[in-house]
């Protein structure tokens, strides 16, 4: 009797093991949080140094069109205008998303509504597989197929915004498609059945009922694709031409934030202005990925209501 009473009041071996497990697993979680915090801390402190230590004007940085951080203009201020890269990044991302969206929706509708059997058997696994293809492979394709084709069609070198957008289009297409498929699949069966029962044609059902109720999910897929496109470095860097000039047309060499970043960071000295402005570009990338994250959350919140 008393032994049991005593054991109930003492800390058991199981309790100690549980405490141990809790501490170990929590430390793992904490480590991940620490990584995220330090990424932000380091990139922000480096990226902001441009403005605080090197006294570059934020507005000049965001709106300046001349990028040559090693050189100064007539008045002695360094040429740190990042507008060409910012424009390049947004252009390739928006174009890629604009082209990819209709194709992704069309293919997803085909897979879920028109021909589910073939969708499940062939297209499904193929898109899943393509999602996993490394981006350098897309870059290689861009370099060996898209760039020569554009050169043939439009003249010039073939490198440029259009080539970058095409590569990103092919790259995000599988991701956006497979996310759209998941959304369409989650539209309740009875939506379709009741629409068809009311005499709607298949197309009316798809257009007015299914796509309408799947809109938040499709938007999420597109924004997700844009986030990937915006942050993609090497595939774009391989085909865009890497000229830090304001893009005049779509088929002349241009640059993006990521392409200048990957090229420059190895060729500049840590702590110098040339290096710090590159970190400022990285900071823009970081902030943009936050923005995409917030947009996705906002869509989810609105969709839930």
């Amino acid at each position: 009797m008393d032994l049991i009473r005593e054991s109930l009041l003492k800390k058991s071996k199981a309790s100690k093991k549980d405490q141990f497990g809790r501490v170990i697993t929590f430390s793992a979680l904490l480590l991940i949080v620490l990584v995220v915090v330090s990424i932000f801390w380091f990139v922000a402190s480096k990226g902001l140094a441009t403005f605080f230590s090197n006294k570059v004007n934020l507005w000049d940085f965001l709106s300046g069109k001349n990028w040559a951080p090693g050189q100064t203009d007539a008045s002695g201020t360094p040429l740190t205008g990042a507008l060409p890269m910012i424009t390049g990044s947004f252009l390739v991302t928006l174009m890629a998303a604009l082209i990819a969206t209709p194709f992704a929706i069309g293919t997803a509708v085909f897979m879920t509504e028109i021909s589910p059997k073939r969708g499940a058997k062939i297209l499904g696994p193929v898109t899943e597989l393509l999602v996993g293809i490394p981006s350098v492979v897309y870059g290689f394709i861009g370099l060996s197929v898209i760039v020569p084709t554009l050169r043939y069609l439009f003249g010039g070198s073939g490198f440029g915004i259009l080539a970058g957008a095409m590569v990103l289009f092919v790259m995000i297409l599988p991701t956006v498609t497979s996310m759209t498929v998941d959304t369409l699949k989650s539209v309740p069966r009875h939506y379709r059945e009741s629409a068809l029962a009311l005499g709607a044609t298949r197309w009316q059902t798809i257009y007015k009922v299914i796509l309408r109720s799947a809109t938040p999910g499709i938007l999420t897929a597109v924004v997700f694709g844009m986030a990937r496109a915006f942050g993609e470095a090497l595939a774009v860097q391989m085909v865009i031409g890497n000229a830090s000039l304001m893009p005049k047309d779509l088929t002349s060499p241009a640059s993006t934030l990521t392409s200048i970043l990957t090229q420059g960071i190895g060729n500049t000295v840590m702590g110098s202005l040339e290096n710090n402005v590159l970190w400022s570009l990285a900071l823009i990338l970081l902030l943009m990925s936050l923005v995409f994250n917030i947009i996705i959350r906002a869509i989810a919140k609105k969709g839930a209501i």
Partner: protein, 297 residues
């Protein structure tokens, strides 16, 4: 104006066209790489070192580096992801503000451009901690890149195990830790393994996070020397190690060897085949392990 029936017909035709076009593009993509790359594959190509200026270089060292880096990454990231996944699903109070914040942080980490993750690794490990361009720096950068996905897949795997099993353990006076370790995790092994292999495919093909961490050079290795402390040893974790994916990028953006196109086609084909294999392996392992788990001996 079209009547409903006609527009239905038109829409169907359009959808078939779009789907057909997408299939065509995707098939052409894979087809192109395989057609261009596979003929270039040979034992020599897969095993010999690369050459910078002359034709006939292989990808042996890069291939080895890719696998070695993958293994190192998994060794570092799996325990962390496992622990974090267990805490999030088995211990955490889901309504706790800190836990919600943590989930947001993990989500943000997963959406960061890999080039930013790589640059952070460069700044902190290569430069500050003076690890240099090395397998270790690369594996740490890839760990950051890999953690969110792996953690989520561990958590999803745990979620798929019915609560009844946890209650069974609890009712027998077992601690949560014992129940998770001996009952829940073994039952979740098939789906955890699937998650690990799928993430391995992603890690294997990653390049942007590596160019400034594991480096862009592949010094020749002495495959007879397996002492990890020797500089030429393949096992040395402090040596720079260009991987296959980085090699493709490097060859295409700066390569001056005459057979650059062929080398990158061959390397791309190897990458795609590896991703394919990881995919099949994931499916195969999960079904085999699942059968083993429910086997009636």
């Amino acid at each position: 104006m079209l009547n409903p029936k006609q527009s239905d017909k038109l829409a169907s035709v359009m959808l078939y066209t779009i789907a057909g076009f997408v299939i065509l593009v995707l098939a052409a993509l894979v087809g192109y790489i395989l057609v261009q790359g596979v003929p270039h594959l040979s034992w020599h190509f897969l095993t010999s070192p690369s050459s910078a200026f002359t034709a006939g270089g292989g990808i042996g060292v890069q291939l080895f580096n890719s696998f070695y880096l993958l293994i190192m990454t998994m060794i570092i990231s799996f325990p962390i992801a496992l622990g974090a996944g267990i805490y999030l699903h088995e211990y955490a109070n889901q309504k706790n503000q800190f836990i919600r914040l943590t989930r947001t942080a993990i989500e943000i980490l997963s959406s960061l451009p890999s080039v930013v993750v790589g640059l952070f690794g460069f700044l902190l490990f290569v430069v500050q901690f003076k690890l240099g361009f090395s397998i270790l720096s690369g594996a740490i950068a890839l760990t950051f890149f890999n953690l969110p996905l792996l953690t989520r897949s561990v958590e999803d795997s745990l979620r798929s195990i019915p609560n009844l099993q946890r209650e069974a353990g609890a009712a027998l006076g077992l601690s949560r830790w014992e129940t998770v370790g001996h009952i829940i995790l073994p039952a979740a092994v098939p789906s955890i393994v699937t998650g690990v292999v799928l993430s391995a495919g992603r890690v294997f093909g990653e390049a942007a996070a590596l160019i400034y961490t594991a480096g862009q050079s592949a010094p020749a290795l002495d495959f007879g020397d397996w002492n990890p402390f020797n500089t030429a040893s393949p096992l040395n974790i402090m040596r720079p190690a260009e991987t296959l994916a980085v090699h493709i990028w490097k060859v295409n953006s700066e390569g001056i060897m005459p057979d650059a196109a062929a080398v990158s086609a061959g390397a791309s084909a190897v990458l795609i085949i590896a991703v394919l294999l990881f995919n099949f392996l994931a499916r195969f392992l999960s079904s085999v392990l699942y059968k083993h788990l429910t086997a009636t001996k």
